[in-house]
Amino acid sequence: MATETVTSGAVAAIGTTGVSRFAGILRSLRRSPAGFIGFLIVAALVLITAIGPIFTPVLEPNVKEILLPFGSPGHLLGTDNEGKDVLIQMIDGGRSVIFIGFVAAAISTALAIVLGSLAAYLGGWVDSVVVTAADVVLTVPQIVLLAVLGALFRLDSPILLALLVGGLSWPVLTRAIRSQVLSLKEREFVEAARLLDLGTARVVFVEILPNMASFILMNFMIGITNAIYSLVGLYLLGLAPLTGSNWGIMLNRAWIAGAIFNDASIGFILSPVVAITLLLLGLVMMTRSLEEILNPRLRDR
Amino acid sequence: MTTTSSVPRATRGGGGKPLLSIRDFKVEYRTGSGTTVQAVRGLDLDLYPGESLALVGESGCGKTTFGLGLLRLLPRLGHASGQVTFNRSDGTEIDVLKLNGRDLREFRWRDAAMVFQGAMNAFNPVLKIRGHMHDTMRAHTKATKQEIEERSAELLRLVRLEPERVMDSYPHELSGGMRQRVLIAMSLLLEPEVLILDEPTTALDILTQRSVVDVLHEVRERLGFSMIFISHDLSLAAELADRVATMYAGRIIETGGVRDMFYKPRHPYTLGLIKAVPPIVGDLPDLESIPGGPPSLANLPKGCTFHPRCKFATDECQEADPPLIPITDEPGDAHDVACIHSAAVHLGRSAS
C-alpha cells in the first residue's frame, strides 16, 4: 500500500509549529472537517468493539439458519455458513484487529523512534547500518516477508502477531523519523541546549522529541493503517492462524465459504469489508489532516 | 486628473496626470474560522510618470501586500478593494481592480512589472533563462525567436550580464545577484511604464547590492519608467527615490520628497526610523529606537495606530486615526503627514 508515498513527500517540509502539543493537535483536528470525521469514525469503531462485546450473546451454530440474507428478521446483516449472526460477529470481531493494529504500530513506532533517532543522532556506522537495514527490509515486499515469517512462527497470541507485523514495518517510519531528527538536531534551539550543556538525554527527549509529537502521532497512525492492512491480508490468504474470530478471519471464512458468489450471503462478506474499510478510511482521514496541520505549506496562505 | 478636491493634494507629486492613481486601496486576508485581517487599510497614492517612489516601513506593515494587490497577485485568501486607475501613455484609462482574464494578463508586465522580494525563487527551476524570456515575450507579443533573443540579450547586457552564457543557464546556476539582475532585465522586456520592486536587494551581499542599485540607476535613466521601490532599508530609499512614502500598519502615514523626508520628517514614526539607522560615515552616531513593535493587524490600537509607541502621543491621539493631510504647498514638493503633532516633530539634522 502506498500510505508511505502520501506522506513521505511532506516529511521534509514539516516544521515545528506552535501546534506541536497534543492539545493543539486535537484542537486543530476539530477544525479540519475531514480529520474530525475520521476521528469520529475511528472513535466510534473503537468504542463499539471495546464495549459492544460485553452485551453480545455467545453465538451458537444454527443449522436451520445457515446463510440467511441481509435484513433477515433478527439478523440484520444475515447469518454465516454456521447460521451465526453476522452483526454480532462484527461487533465482537473488531477488538483484536484494532488491538493488534495499535500494538503493532506502537511497536514499530517505538522501534522507529529508537533506531531513527539513534541513527540520526549518533551518525557514523550506526547510521549506515540502520539505513542499509531499512533499505533491505523495504526492498522485499512486506506482505511476502510477513507470509514467510508467519509460517515460521506459531502466531498464537495477538501480541506475537503484532510483534511480527510491527517488527517488519519499522523501516519506513525509521527513515521518516531519522530525517526528522536529522533536521531537528541541526535546529538552533537544539544547539543552544547543547551549548548550555543540558545533557544528551535531555536534548533528545525534552528538546527534540516533543517537537516531533504530532509527527510521531501521524506516523503512529500510518503504522496502524499499515498493520491492519498486512494483518487482514494475512488472514485473507490464510497465512495467519485463524485463532479466535475477527474481521480478518471473517473475511477469510466468507471467502472460503464462497459467500462472494451467493447473493443471499453477500452481507456475510461485505460486512467485514465495510468495517475494515471504514476503520482504515477513518485513520487515513485523520492522518491526512494531521499532515496538513504539520505542514503549513499545505495550508492556504 | 481623476482626483477630486476632497483628496489630499499631497498625493500628487509633480504636475500632470498621474500614471497610477490609487484611492482607498484595501486588502483583506481571510484567516482561519471566518475572520479577516486588513493588511492594507485605505491607501491613497499617485505615481507620476518617470517618478521613483520609495515605500518604507517596518516588517509586516503591508508593503508587499500592497505591491501584490496592485498587480492583482494576492493569494487565494486575499482580497483587494478600492480604486486603482492606470493611465496608459496612449491615453487609455484602466480600472485595474476590474480587469479580468486576458486584459489582466496584458496589464501585467506590459503595463506594470514587478521585481520580487527574494528573487531566489522567482524563476522556474526547470526552465533555462531563455525559456523564461521566451515565455514572457510570447505571452504578450508575436515576436519571433530572433527578436526575443535580441531583445533579451540587449537587456541582459544592460544589467551587465553576458547574454550568451546567461540565456543558457538554469536559475540555480546563477548567483543571487545575477538572478536579481536577470529578473530586472526580464521585467523590462515589454517596456512597462511602472516597475514595482519589492526589496530587490535584501538578502544580497553588500557589493552585489551595490551593483544592482547601480544597474537600477542606469536602466531608469535610459528607459525612464516609473518605479515603486519597496524597502525597509532607508538608506536605499535615500539613494534611489525621488519621493518617499512611509507605511505603518497598512496605511501611508507620511509622504514627501526624498530630501524633505530625510531632513525634515514630520511624522514621529518616520523620524524614529531615520534615527534608528546607523550611518557608515562619521563618528559614532547617536541612535534611538522606536519602543515596542508594530501592532497586530487583528488588534489595532484605537485612534492613531502609532500612538502606543509614540513619544509625542497625547490623549487626543487615541480618538481618531488622523488623515493624511498636506503640510506644504510648494508645487512639486508636496509633503503630507498623518499626525496631529507634526508641528512638534523635528529631526534636528540638516542636509549635508
Binding site: 451458537e60 451454530p61 443449522v63 445457515i66 446463510l67 455458513n81 454456521e82 447460521g83 509460517a151 498464537d156 490464510g238 497465512l239 492462524p241 485463524l242 485463532t243 479466535g244 478471519i249 477469510n252 471464512r253 471467502w255 472460503i256 465459504a257 464462497g258 459467500a259 458468489f261 451467493n262 447473493d263 443471499a264 450471503s265 456475510f268 | -
Partner: protein, 570 residues
C-alpha cells in the same frame, strides 16, 4: 475486448463437454505422464486422464465389476501366481501405430522405475504376444488387480527407451537407491516429451492451452471414439475458488471440486443438479496422546464422541454432502455391509449425541466439573487447541464447529486454522493437541487403505519416518473382546487372495476401532458436484444409479458414462 475464443462455446455442429480440473502449463506442467512423475500437465487423479490414456479397465464400485476398456479381459491364475491381461485388438495410438502388449510392459517397467506400489506385489511382467501381458505375482493380494487394471497405458514409442533401460536394470537386480538406478530414476523425472501420442478418444489441443482453460479434441482413432458423441472437452483450470464463478456462469457442465455450502446453494438455485457421490472418507478428530495422556483413557474419547452433534457439524461444513458416520468403523459406511456381517454391524456403536452419557463417562474417567468447565484428572482445566487447514472449505468449518460444541460443553477449545501445507507436518511432528485430519481412503475401495490412513499415517508407524510420533496411539490395545494388535490385524486384512480371511480381519479391526475410537470420524464426505443438464449435456446419471456409488476420483462415473454413451450431448 477479448479475441473471439475459437475453442469454447457451442456453436454449429460441435458438441463440447465442459469440465473443470486444475492443471499446470509448461514450464511447470508438462507431458511426461509417467507414473509418479511430478507436475504432469494434469494430476494423475484427474478423471479426464481416462479420456486420454485409458487404463485396462474401470470399476463399478457398487456392482464390484470391471468394465473393460483397453483390456479385453484380465485373469488371475492363483496357482501359477500370474495375472494375464489381454488387450483389445485393433487399438491404435493417435499416430496410427497399434497399441500392443509392449506398451503395457513398458508402462509397468516405468512403474518399477518410479517405485510404484504395484511392484510390492509383482515380481515380473512380460508380453507373450501382441495383445497378451503376463504379470508374475510375488506377494499375492486382492488389491493387485486394481493396480494393474487402473494403470494408464503409455506409448512405448515415447517412453520405450526409458522402459527398456529400466527393464534391463530390473532384470539385473539393480538398485534404484544408488548409481545407475538412481540416475535413471532422476533423469526420467526430468524427461519432457513433446506432443505425445495418445490412445484415448481425446487428445490435447496444444495450441488452445492458456492458463485458464485447455481443450481436448476428439481423437477419432482413439478407444471407443465412435461411442462418444462429444466432439471436444473443454477443461477450466483452477481450484474451487477459481472455478466457482465459471460454474456459476454455466460454462461448466460438471465439476468435481468440493464446493462451499454457499456456492452449492447458488448452483442449486440457478438450475444445477448436485451430484453427491461418496468419497469414502471425511474429516476426523485426531488426539495427541503424547502431550495429553488424559486422552489415553478410552472413556474420554468416547465421551467426546457423545458430546458432538456430528450431523450439525456435517451440515455446517458441507451441507447435504456431509453425512455423519453411523458405523464409526474406520472406513466408509457404504462399504461396511460388504465387509462386516449383519450381526457384527449391530455391535458397532453409533455414538449419537448424548451429553449425559458423556458426563458419565468423563466423571468415570476422573474428570471433574468446576463451574461450567471440566477439569482433567490431573486437576488442570481441560483446554486444547484444535488445528485445521484454513483453506479447506469443509474441514475449516468442521474444525470450527467441533471446537464450538466442545467448548460449550465445558472443554475449552482454541481454534487454530493453519495453512494446509503446514497442517500435515505439524500433525506428524506431534505439534498439536487435537487436529482435523482425514479418515478413510478415497482411491481404493478396500478397507485396508482406510485403516492405513486412520491408524498408521499420522501415528508413530509412518510418522516415525519424518522423525515425529504423530498422535502416538499405541496399536497394541485391549478391548472388551480382549487384547488386540491392530497393526497385525490391519496388515493381514489385505494379504492373500482369500476374501473371507480378509473379512475376518477387517471386522476385528472395525470393532476395535469402534470401541477404541483412536480417532473420531466426524462425517463422511459426499461430493457436491454441480452438474448442468440440458445446456451441452443431455443428462447425468440419475441419483439412484448405482454408478453414483463410484468414488469420483477413482473411477469417475461421468467419464464411464461418456464411454458407455449414457452421458451424451444434447
Amino acid at each position: 475486448s477479448p479475441s473471439k475464443p475459437n475453442a469454447s462455446g457451442s456453436s454449429g455442429g460441435d458438441k463440447p463437454f465442459h469440465g473443470a480440473y486444475p492443471y499446470e502449463l509448461p514450464p511447470k506442467g508438462h507431458f511426461n505422464l509417467g507414473p509418479g512423475v511430478l507436475d504432469g500437465i494434469q494430476r494423475a487423479t484427474s478423471p479426464y486422464m481416462d479420456l486420454i490414456y485409458p487404463s485396462g479397465a474401470m470399476y463399478y464400485w457398487s456392482d464390484k465389476k470391471w468394465e473393460y476398456m483397453m483390456a479385453e479381459s484380465g485373469t488371475l491364475d492363483e496357482k501359477a501366481k500370474t495375472y494375464t491381461m489381454k488387450l483389445r485388438s485393433g487399438l491404435t495410438w493417435s499416430d496410427g501405430t497399434p497399441v500392443t502388449s509392449k506398451d503395457v510392459v513398458a508402462t509397468f517397467n516405468l512403474h518399477w522405475l518410479m517405485r510404484q506400489q504395484s511392484w510390492t506385489f509383482l515380481s515380473d511382467v512380460k508380453s507373450t504376444d501382441d495383445t497378451t501381458v503376463v504379470f508374475t505375482i510375488g506377494t499375492p493380494s486382492t488389491v493387485l488387480e486394481r493396480y494393474i487394471m487402473r494403470a494408464p497405458i503409455l506409448p512405448a514409442a515415447v517412453y520405450g527407451e526409458w522402459a527398456t533401460k529400466a527393464e534391463t536394470l530390473r532384470k539385473a537386480k539393480g538398485s534404484l537407491d544408488e548409481g545407475e538406478g538412481k540416475a535413471l530414476n532422476g533423469d526420467f523425472q526430468k524427461f519432457r516429451p513433446e506432443n505425445p501420442i495418445v490412445s484415448g478418444p481425446f487428445n490435447y489441443d496444444h495450441k488452445s492451452f492458456t492458463n485458464a482453460q485447455m481443450t481436448l479434441v476428439k481423437n477419432d482413432k482413439g478407444l471407443f471414439a465412435d461411442k462418444i458423441a462429444f466432439s471436444k472437452v473443454v477443461l477450466y483450470n483452477g481450484e474451487t475458488s477459481d472455478v466457482t464463478p465459471t460454474v456459476m456462469n454455466k460454462d461448466v457442465d460438471y465439476a468435481t471440486h468440493g464446493f462451499a455450502v454457499a456456492s452449492e446453494k447458488t448452483f442449486q438455485s440457478s438450475g444445477f443438479r448436485i451430484l453427491r457421490p461418496p468419497v469414502y472418507s471425511g474429516p476426523a478428530l485426531y488426539f495427541n496422546f503424547t502431550t495429553h495422556p488424559e486422552f489415553a483413557d478410552v472413556r474420554v474419547r468416547q465421551a467426546i464422541a457423545y458430546i458432538l452433534d456430528r450431523n450439525e457439524n456435517g451440515t455446517v461444513a458441507l451441507g447435504d454432502s456431509g453425512k455423519p458416520c453411523k458405523f464409526m468403523a474406520g472406513f466408509s459406511d457404504i462399504s461396511v455391509p460388504d465387509w462386516v456381517s449383519d450381526a457384527d454391524q449391530k455391535k458397532l456403536n453409533a455414538y449419537e449425541k448424548d451429553l449425559d452419557k458423556a458426563t458419565q463417562l468423563l466423571t468415570a474417567a476422573g474428570w471433574k466439573k468446576s463451574g461450567d468447565k471440566w477439569l482433567t484428572p490431573a486437576g488442570k482445566p481441560a483446554a486444547y487447541d484444535i488445528k485445521f487447514p484454513t483453506e479447506f472449505a469443509d474441514w475449516n468449518p468442521a474444525g470450527t464447529n467441533a471446537a464450538d460444541q466442545l467448548t460449550k460443553f465445558g472443554i475449552t477449545i482454541t481454534k487454530r486454522g493453519v495453512n494446509y501445507v503446514q497442517q500435515e507436518p505439524d500433525v506428524l511432528d506431534g505439534k498439536f493437541d487435537i487436529a482435523i485430519q482425514a479418515w478413510g481412503a478415497s482411491s481404493h475401495p478396500h478397507p485396508y487403505f482406510s485403516f492405513v490412513a486412520d491408524l498408521y499415517r499420522f501415528n508413530y508407524v509412518l510418522a516415525a519416518n519424518t522423525g515425529g510420533k504423530g498422535m502416538n496411539f499405541p496399536l497394541k490395545q485391549t478391548t472388551t473382546a480382549g487384547p488386540i494388535d491392530l497393526q497385525a490385524v490391519v496388515d493381514k486384512s489385505a494379504q492373500g487372495l482369500d476374501l473371507d480371511e480378509q473379512k475376518k480381519n477387517v471386522t476385528a479391526a472395525a470393532l476395535a476401532f469402534n470401541e477404541l475410537l483412536p480417532i473420531i470420524p466426524l462425517w463422511e464426505r459426499y461430493g457436491n458436484n454441480p452438474a448442468l443438464e440440458g445446456k451441452r449435456v443431455a443428462k447425468f446419471p440419475a441419483d439412484d444409479d448405482p454408478i453414483l456409488k463410484n468414488a469420483p476420483y477413482a473411477d469417475n462415473f461421468v467419464i464411464m458414462g461418456m464411454y458407455s454413451g449414457k452421458v451424451a450431448p444434447v
